[in-house]
Structure formats: C-alpha cells, structure tokens
Amino acid sequence: MQQGQFTGPAADPRRSKERSADEAVLLQRIAAGDRSAFEALYRGYYPRLTRFLERVIRRPHSVEEVLNDAMLVVWRKAASFNGRSKVSTWIFSIAYRKALKALKRFDEPVESDDEAFESTLPGPEGQLMQRQLCDQLLEEIARMSFEHRTVIELTYYHGCAYKEIADIMACPVDTVKTRMFHARRRLRLALADRREEFQ
C-alpha cells in the first residue's frame, strides 16, 4: 500500500480496487492485533481524513482529536469490516459519524437553510473562474452546512460515487443528490454575485 500519497480526487477505478484490496489485507492484520498494519493504514489515511475533517468541521484544533477517535474505532472494530463496501467508505463513514458527534458537541447546526437560496441565474462560464472566484467559492463552501460541505468534499476532492456518499452519510442516494443540488445552487449564486462585482 502506498502511504500518504493521496493528493487529489480519486484515481482510476482499477487502482482504487487494488488499493481497497490492499487495505482489506491491512484490516485483517489489524483485526489480529498487528500494530504495524494499523500504523500503515493510519499513515495512508491521515492526509485524506485530515483534509476531510478540516473542511467539514472547520475547527483546526479539533481535527486531530476527531481523526484519532475515528481511527481508534478502526483499530477496535477492524474484525467487523465485512467487505460489502470499500475500506475507504467504511473508514470515512466512521470519521463522518465522529465529525457529526463533534459538531453536536460544539452545538453547531448540522442542517442548513438552503431553501433561502433561490437562484434563477444561469451557470457562469468557466473563463470567469479566476483566482478570486476560487477563493470566493471556498469561502462559500466553508459557510455551508456540515451536510452540504460533506457532500461537496467527498465528491470533488475524494472522488466518491454518490452511492458511496450515501453509505458514508447513512442516507438515501436521493438525499445526497438533493444536498448536492442545493450546494451547487448556492455556489452559482455566489459566483453570480461576484461576477456582478467585476462588471
């Protein structure tokens, strides 16, 4: 297994399958109490989970705590991994639940009020997406609800399929679709506002 080399959206499906098989082997070893296997899995997932948690809980000082709580569950529950999903889906679902728990502890609302964002503007053209617009987008994503940030993050950065996201978030695929729809609409609105500022 390659360690710590994940730096962008998911690679091709074949590579993804190979990685999942490698990780399944690591989980088997972890289930038998192999600490070196756990360390390998931890190092492999640390960049991805750090990035994911930074984006969805938005509290840099709490990221490590949530990440380590999630990986402690992986250590303790490795034997319960049944192979019905990819290892990454299983681990991200644990991290998602830990993040959700942390947000409730922070008393931050999990759901958003996206219905307030109505947009009739068409999608902006790609040429207008300059650096400032990118920054604006990232700021806008940071202001979204936990659920919407999670869908955006898992889709655009981690390259997850919508079915995987539904598994991770323990919700129907239609809910994933709806959350993505609202998130995109909100981003379009932010982009349109920004474009008006330029004009």
């Binding site: 730096t7 360390e39 960049p47 192979g83 950065y157 997850c160 399929a161």
Partner: protein, 228 residues
C-alpha cells in the same frame, strides 16, 4: 435499480443536471454516463454547468495539503488497547462477574452487610455456572467466527483464509478453489473468510495462485494471521 438517481419521473435535463458532479469525477456507471453524454450534446446549459463544475473542482483541489501523520499517530498509539479488538476481547476467558460488584473503593461498597455480599455473590455464582453450562456447546461451535483467535478449531484444521469479492459468482468461487487445489474446511467467518486446507507443502503455491485472481480480496496463511 434501487439507489439510482436516474428516474422516469424526471426529465433527461434534470437527470443529467443531478449527475453532472459524478459524471465529472468519473464514478457513474456506463449507462448513466452514456445518458449524460447524450443529453449534453444538445444542451448548452449542461455543458456550461459542467465547465463550471470543472473549474470548481480544480479550485477545490488546488488548496491541497499533505500533512505528516507522525505526531498525531504518536499521540494515538498509547491509546490502542494492548491486546486488541472487540472479537478477540470477547474471546478471552470471562471474568467472574460478581467480583466486580463490590470493589473496595466503590461508593456503595459500605452499604451492604457482609452476609448480603456473600449471599449475592453465591447467587451470581450459581447463575453464572448454570449460564456457563448452557452456553458451553454453542460457544465451541461459534469459534469459527473468531478468525484471528489463535488456537481456535478453524486454525487447527485449516492452512489459510481466503476472502472473495462479495460480488463474485458462486461458480467462479468454485472454479478458483478447484484450480488452486484447496479444500474448504470452515467458514464463512464473520469476516466472510473461508478457511482452506491444502496438501502439505503446497501452501505457498496455493497462496500465489489465489492472490493472482482478481476476485480474491485476501489470501493469507493462518499462522501469519494469528501472530500479533
């Protein structure tokens, strides 16, 4: 098909719009992908939206970091349970439960006279002994679940464990096992593993053969599995 976003209740435009983010990240199945492509040929709005999403994704990925795991891992390692995980912990010898009721420092330890403690302890002892007698036969039969538990019957009878892709057809599983010259002696375990026995001295070739099969997720010798 359950769980698909495409729906007859939606227009092709709506369906394509919903699927664009996953069309972009390449995770749609062939049918969905073909439908989106076909729709986009005649829909300027969807093409424009896809371009927008592409820009968004590139902006999103640009801010990437590759943090180092070492320090955080160092803080987690002392928290790892010394022996291990759930199933193995459950497999360890049960502690006498009644002893834990009256720890010396517990706030209620002084509330009961000694004879009540003794009577309760005796009651628990009888209940535990009866329970143990009832559970014993099942317990012996259920040890196959504990793939990682050293000394279990599965380990004594088999040489290796194999886990197949859950989507693998039964005929393929049978073909692979026959081709490898292995015999199923136990399983499926809680981890969907099959415990196999192989002729003496053939363990390594069988492992190599199994690991070459795309439908095999894991093939590992039981001895190595058992070592911590």
């Amino acid at each position: 098909m359950t769980g698909r976003i495409l729906s007859f209740a939606k227009s092709p435009h709506q369906s394509a719009q919903e699927l664009l983010p996953w069309f972009l990240n390449g995770t749609l199945d062939a049918d969905e992908s073909a439908q989106v492509e076909q729709h986009m040929r005649s829909c300027a709005a969807c093409r424009s939206e896809l371009q927008c999403l592409r820009e968004l994704q590139s902006a999103y990925v640009e801010s990437d970091l590759a943090p180092e795991a070492g320090a955080a891992l160092g803080r987690l390692l002392p928290r790892l349970d010394p022996v291990v995980p759930d199933d193995r912990r459950r497999a360890s010898a049960p502690r006498a439960p009644w002893f834990g009721l009256f720890p010396a420092g517990a706030p209620w330890s002084g509330l009961f006279p000694v004879w009540i403690k003794i009577a309760l302890a005796a009651q628990f002892g009888v209940i535990f002994a009866l329970g143990w007698a009832v559970v014993q036969p099942d317990r012996a039969g259920s040890q196959y679940h504990l793939l990682a538990a050293a000394g279990s019957p599965a380990h004594a009878a088999g040489d290796l464990v194999v886990v197949f892709d859950p989507a693998a057809p039964q005929r393929e599983v049978t073909r692979i096992l026959r081709g490898a010259g292995a015999r199923v002696v136990d399983g499926p375990t809680a981890s969907n593993g099959l415990v196999l026995a192989v002729p003496k001295g053939h363990l390594q070739p069988v492992l190599t053969s199994l690991r070459a099969e795309p439908l095999v997720v894991l093939a590992a010798p039981l001895e190595a599995e058992a070592s911590p």
